[in-house]
């Protein structure tokens, strides 16, 4: 029996000639193709957004390309605030050129001349290095015939701004409160103009698909989850860090490789993701057909209290809720108070069922992804570790 079925890859961080030698040869090749051909390739590749939600990238571009609006935008979402995520940090520190290239390809495809990177305020330390790399990048792509520039805007410590419409509100100088959808950003995004917004890693994937071809990309992953993914691995593991793995792996294989031998649970997808207990490791697939993730994988061993884990997540949501809609603003506070009351014995254990119903209501009624996803960790932790919530 094979001891491990994990396939480690080296596409995102791997050395390639696509952006090296200060020449960006991949961009010289791309501009020979028509935007339509490139979009078709991205659609065929099956690439889905790497921020977590997993919308097909090529389709998004196609929608944005459709309108004849003279002004459109490309935005790179570098506001990675999901607890346990740090892969975009490594991508931007190590292969920022591949991100810039992916954005330029997008600009060419949808006919946008302005790109923005919304970099979380916590990563301000990267700004000088990135701006220097951009100076060089701008010179090169101008020579190659691209009419595209990238500007970096800084966030100011608000998790919700990772939500795409909040991010655009923030770029417009407002409170980062999510908008109603539709209209979607491809129709009315930044400044109410057609906008493609993708995750940092998604843009790198675009560059790599253009470099290696659709067929090479499709060799990795599964029908529903093509390619590889950059994972941020932390918690009770001897090997915290950023790893690039083929999508569609079994969680049990993952735990075998990265666990400390005593893994009790893995929180897949950060605080807004799902908690998978040991008994379900074997049946859990990491990918869009199973448990999707923006890459955050937090491992907990049997010494950890899952009550503390949930309590930490709920405090986080209550604090980061923008307060715009009642289900999230009030609901998160009630969940925080509720599990405390059960733990202290002020409320009996049946109260957990009331809280589960409340989390379900928040899921259905909250305006944006933040509120809607609170129930993910709440439900999966409370139902799988009920004793720990009570005693």
């Amino acid at each position: 029996m094979e001891s491990n079925n994990l396939k480690k890859t080296d596409i995102i961080f791997g050395l390639c000639n696509c952006t090296s030698n200060k020449k960006y040869p991949v961009l010289a090749e791309v501009i020979q193709k028509t935007p339509n051909d490139i979009i078709t390739e991205i659609i065929d590749s099956g690439l889905k957004g790497r921020g977590g939600a997993g919308f097909p990238t090529g389709l998004k571009w196609k929608f944005a390309a459709a309108g004849n609006n003279p002004e459109k935008y490309v935005i790179c979402n570098a506001d990675e605030g999901e607890p346990g995520t740090f892969k975009d940090r490594e991508i931007l520190l190590k292969v920022a050129g591949k991100v810039f290239a992916g954005m330029a390809i997008c600009g060419y495809c949808i006919n946008a001349s302005k790109g923005y990177i919304y970099l979380r305020g916590e990563y301000k330390f990267m700004l000088p290095g990135l701006n220097k790399a951009l100076l060089e990048f701008h010179e090169i792509i101008k020579e190659l015939g691209y009419n595209f520039t990238i500007k970096i805007l800084l966030g100011s410590g608000a998790y919700i701004c990772g939500e795409e419409t909040s991010l655009m509100e923030s770029m417009e100088g407002k409170r980062g409160e999510p908008r109603n959808k539709p209209p979607f950003p491809v129709a009315e995004g930044f400044n109410n103009l057609p906008t493609v917004i993708n995750n940092v890693e998604t843009f790198v994937n675009v560059t790599m698909i253009q470099k290696y071809g659709v067929e090479e990309f499709k060799k990795l992953g599964t029908q529903d989850s093509r390619g590889s993914k950059v994972f941020s691995i932390s918690g009770d593991t001897p090997n915290s860090g950023v790893y690039e793995l083929e999508l569609g792996m079994k969680l049990s294989d993952f735990v075998e490789e990265y666990g400390d031998g005593d893994t009790k649970a893995v929180q897949v997808g950060g605080a807004s993701g799902f908690c998978v207990p040991r008994k379900k490791f074997d049946e859990t697939i990491i990918g869009f057909e199973g448990v999707p993730t923006g890459g955050s994988m937090m491992l907990f061993n049997s010494s950890r209290s899952m009550y503390n884990v949930l309590s930490n997540y709920l405090d986080f949501f209550a604090e980061e809720s923008c307060g715009q809609c009642t289900p999230c603003r009030v609901g998160c506070q009630q969940l925080v108070q509720g599990i405390k009351a059960v733990k202290k014995g002020v409320k009996d254990e049946e109260y957990l069922d009331t809280l589960l119903k409340l989390s379900e209501s928040i899921k259905i009624t909250a305006k944006c992804g933040l509120g809607q996803s609170v129930a993910n960790s709440f439900f999966s932790i409370v139902t799988n570790f009920k004793e720990e919530m009570i005693y």
Partner: protein, 154 residues
């Protein structure tokens, strides 16, 4: 013209005076003055021709845009679950003892403010903290004392 007025006019010239310039201007003031004073926010409203309520509403939304006076060095310790597991409590205790303040407070010489913040993107190297924009990771109590002493002698 007051010093604040002059600073904001310069910032509006640099960043533009449209609404989209509001956050870059607010960020620049926090960088210079460590927080956003009422005077500064009123002056921005004037320069960008928006209401002071809009300026305050925006500023108060973002945790890094402080509207309370802060020290020259703002320490933000990561309080994620991973940070907790890796010894955040010890780090906070060390900082509180060394600076003789509690979380949320500023030293009387206005040098340091001690705050906690949500995940700063270093879960692979917790415990971690930011001092202004510089991240410090894999912290130990000893390391924290060395870092603070370096800032004290700056």
């Amino acid at each position: 013209m007051t010093e604040v007025q002059e600073m904001i006019i310069n910032l509006a010239n640099k960043h533009g005076s449209g609404r989209e310039s509001l956050i870059p201007i607010l960020q620049a003031i926090v960088e210079k003055q460590n927080f956003l004073s009422e005077e500064a926010m009123n002056e921005i409203a004037e320069q960008l021709d928006i209401s002071a309520a809009q300026v305050f509403g925006t500023a108060s939304f973002y945790s890094f845009l402080d509207t309370k006076p802060r020290g020259k060095y703002i320490i933000r310790v990561c309080k994620s679950i991973i940070a907790e597991m890796k010894g955040k409590k010890e780090i906070i205790k060390t900082l509180e003892n060394s600076l003789k303040i509690k979380v949320g407070q500023t030293t009387s010489d206005k040098m340091f403010s001690l705050l906690e913040t949500n995940d700063i993107g270093w879960s692979d190297q917790e415990p971690s903290m930011l001092i202004n924009e510089i991240p410090y990771t894999n912290l130990t109590p000893e390391k924290v004392i060395t870092i603070i002493n370096e800032y004290r002698s700056k």
